[in-house]
């Protein structure tokens, strides 16, 4: 068991190393010159001042040393928690921008992931034993999962925000209120949260519900369920077993879905101008702010790795089959 997790940890560490390296490379090969943009923003005409500014910025961002030095410096800084200075929000450190954005992204993602997973599984299991529910829910579920996320988000924004005016269309809170721990601010935060949250929730909910429904039906037709029923076990016991066994693949599914969920959050934040990591990424791309881009990507990679590791551990703990295989012993 320890050996297993040791190996896993090594794989995760390796993945992280490769991800950081690629992360470092990509923006440096991006078309366009960010320094040029920054200099242009200052609107100085004098060529001598332009050259001086350029030299100053290049030095400031550490771009005046050979690439390998830049790479080593990048790692050294990273380990100190320093991801450089943003070009777009110059001179705010990237770390600060990310720390400010993280609560919004997590506040959107974690409830959406966990609640949709929980509700989807419950609902799918419930639908599996009601024919009429099954017949109505299944097509709706398929429709939900098949809808491109962008459409769904736009549809929600258009109907509930623009047409019905129930919820605000964008941003995390109204600019009329000051961020503070007041009820007014929290209320504003909540109504702004509903639409982006619902769009993420709905898309994932459909997928989980359908998956669970199919898994439960499969489990209820399995041999152990038949055996128990032949011996007159109450259906509550059989359903209980089926549910527990069907949840296991859903846990793996959760791990696999995480990557796409992060991408989904990106689109959500863009559609609803929600100031999370996705929003930062959009700004970074528009402003060729590769430090910010690096920071944001790094955060996502870390998030996905950590989440996967947690799910890995949880899975081995809950499924006796993997546990036994790992120990590799029989009675």
């Amino acid at each position: 068991m320890r050996q297993y997790f040791g190996r896993k940890a090594l794989i995760y560490a390796l993945t992280f190393f490769v991800a950081v390296t690629i992360n470092w490379m990509i923006p440096r090969f991006m078309p366009g010159d960010p320094i040029q943009g920054l200099v242009a923003r200052a609107q100085v005409a004098d060529p001598a001042s332009v050259d001086a500014m350029r030299a100053h910025y290049t030095n400031l961002f550490g771009l005046d040393v050979p690439w390998w030095q830049q790479y080593v410096n990048f790692w050294a800084a990273l380990l100190r928690g320093d991801m450089g200075i943003s070009i777009w929000a110059f001179p705010t450190p990237v770390t600060d921008l990310i720390i400010r954005a993280v609560p919004y992204t997590l506040g959107l993602l974690i409830p959406a992931i966990l609640l949709s997973w929980w509700a989807g599984n419950r609902f799918g299991a419930f639908a599996a034993r009601r024919k009429w529910l099954d017949n109505t829910v299944l097509p709706i579920g398929y429709l939900l999962t098949a809808t491109p996320y962008m459409w769904l988000a736009l549809l929600l924004a258009w109907t509930l925000a623009i047409l019905a005016g129930i919820f605000p269309v964008s941003h995390a809170y109204s600019f009329a209120v000051q961020p503070s721990w007041s009820w007014e601010f929290l209320g504003s935060l909540a109504v702004h949260w509903v639409l982006p949250f619902s769009s993420l929730f709905l898309v994932m909910f459909g997928g989980w519900a359908i998956g669970m429904r199919n898994l439960i039906i499969y489990e209820l037709e399995s041999d152990y369920a038949n055996y128990l029923q032949a011996l007159g076990a109450r259906s509550r016991l059989v359903r209980g077993y089926a549910f527990r066994n069907a949840v296991l693949p859903q846990i793996t599914g959760l791990a696999l879905q995480l990557g796409t969920i992060v991408a989904g959050a990106l689109v959500t934040e863009i559609v609803f101008s929600y100031p999370g990591i996705g929003h930062l990424i959009l700004q970074a791309i528009n402003n060729q702010d590769f430090f910010l881009l690096q920071g944001a990507f790094l955060f996502i990679v870390l998030g996905v790795l950590v989440a996967n590791f947690i799910i890995d551990v949880v899975y081995t703990l809950v499924d006796p089959r993997t546990r036994i295989r790992m120990q590799g012993n029989a009675v």
Binding site: D223, Y227, R321, V331
Partner: protein
């Protein structure tokens, strides 16, 4: 008193119509008797076994009665049947290898099952352990997951679970098909041992392997296309069969001790009729070397000797 099955009809509902898988089957199994059920694949053996304990969703009880120890079994009523399952009628399924929930410890699963039937695990734990000793399973299996047991161990575990409440009737459907020859023998011996110790009163032992049936069954019943062809003491069926189908079945065995498995019988050309729309008269008529005009009428089962029933005009 045992089991009495009277003119039992069980049909499958399919899109193409009713499959008459059991079409008027009558027989009895006495106390302490092991009845071997034989016949080609598709003749209705599994359907009969399932009918006596739990019909699947597509099966319909269309006629006939089943009586166990003098009480009628409500086989067509899934709910009312529950009371009889496990305690009165039990089954060792064909799929013993996967009959136990893979994610639950075996002891826990048994406890769940017993509690679900309103029984206390604690009251039966002692007996359960004694029976594990008897089939030479270490008691630790109760704390293991099914995955940790070998095939033979799982088979024995399921046998112990199925018979824990001392059912009056036990159905064993192809329980040896998945095992190697030496394990098959051991399983068959265990079954006889259970009967001898009174864990089960009567047994219906379904198998393709007529030679194995011969070793443990007191009586053998041969089915053909949803009907009983012949039923008699095991040695009579093997040594002095009267029905042309039984004769061909026995003669197609090169010698006792060789399995004929699931292959089509070499000695009998043709195949059984479709049970969707079975022909009138004797269902074996197309393939029978002795068929004659009379066979257009259905032959009744006749007791040609005491306890020897044959459904054939020529018997």
């Amino acid at each position: 008193m045992g089991l009495r099955v009277n003119d039992l009809k069980v049909y499958y509902q399919t899109l193409r119509g009713e499959v008459k898988a059991l079409d008027g089957v009558t027989f009895a199994v006495g106390d302490g008797e092991i009845l071997g059920l034989a016949g080609e694949s598709g003749c209705g053996k599994t359907t009969l076994g399932k009918s006596l304990i739990r019909m699947d969703g597509r099966m319909r009880h269309t006629g006939g009665t089943v009586e166990l120890d003098g009480a009628e079994l409500p086989i067509g009523d899934d709910r009312r049947m529950n009371r009889f399952r496990f305690s009165e009628v039990s089954i060792i399924p064909q799929y013993a290898m996967s009959a136990m929930n893979p994610t639950r410890k075996i002891g826990k699963m048994v406890a769940d099952l017993l509690e679900s039937r309103g029984l206390r695990y604690r009251n039966l734990a002692g007996e359960l352990e004694r029976r594990l000793d008897l089939v030479e399973l270490p008691r630790e299996v109760l704390g293991s997951y099914p995955l940790e047991l070998s095939g033979g161990m799982k088979q024995r575990m399921v046998m112990v679970i199925s018979t824990l409440l001392d059912p009056s009737l036990l159905i064993a459907d192809e329980i040896t098909s998945a095992l190697d020859v030496s394990t098959q023998k051991a399983v068959a011996r265990t079954l006889v041992g259970f009967r001898d110790r009174g864990f089960v009163r009567s047994v219906i032992f379904i198998t393709h392997d007529i030679s194995l049936t011969y070793q443990i069954a007191d009586t053998i019943m041969v089915m053909y296309a949803g009907k009983v062809a012949e039923k008699a003491r095991a040695d009579v069926i093997v040594n002095a069969p009267r029905h042309p189908y039984t004769k061909l079945l026995i003669s197609s065995l090169p010698e006792v001790g060789v399995r004929y498995a699931d292959r089509k019988l070499a000695g009998i050309p043709g195949s059984p009729p479709s049970l969707l729309d079975p022909p009138t008269g004797c269902r074996f008529r197309d393939r029978c070397p002795l068929a004659h005009d009379k066979c257009a009428e259905e032959p009744p089962a006749v007791e040609v000797e005491p306890d020897h029933f044959v459904a054939c005009w020529k018997a």
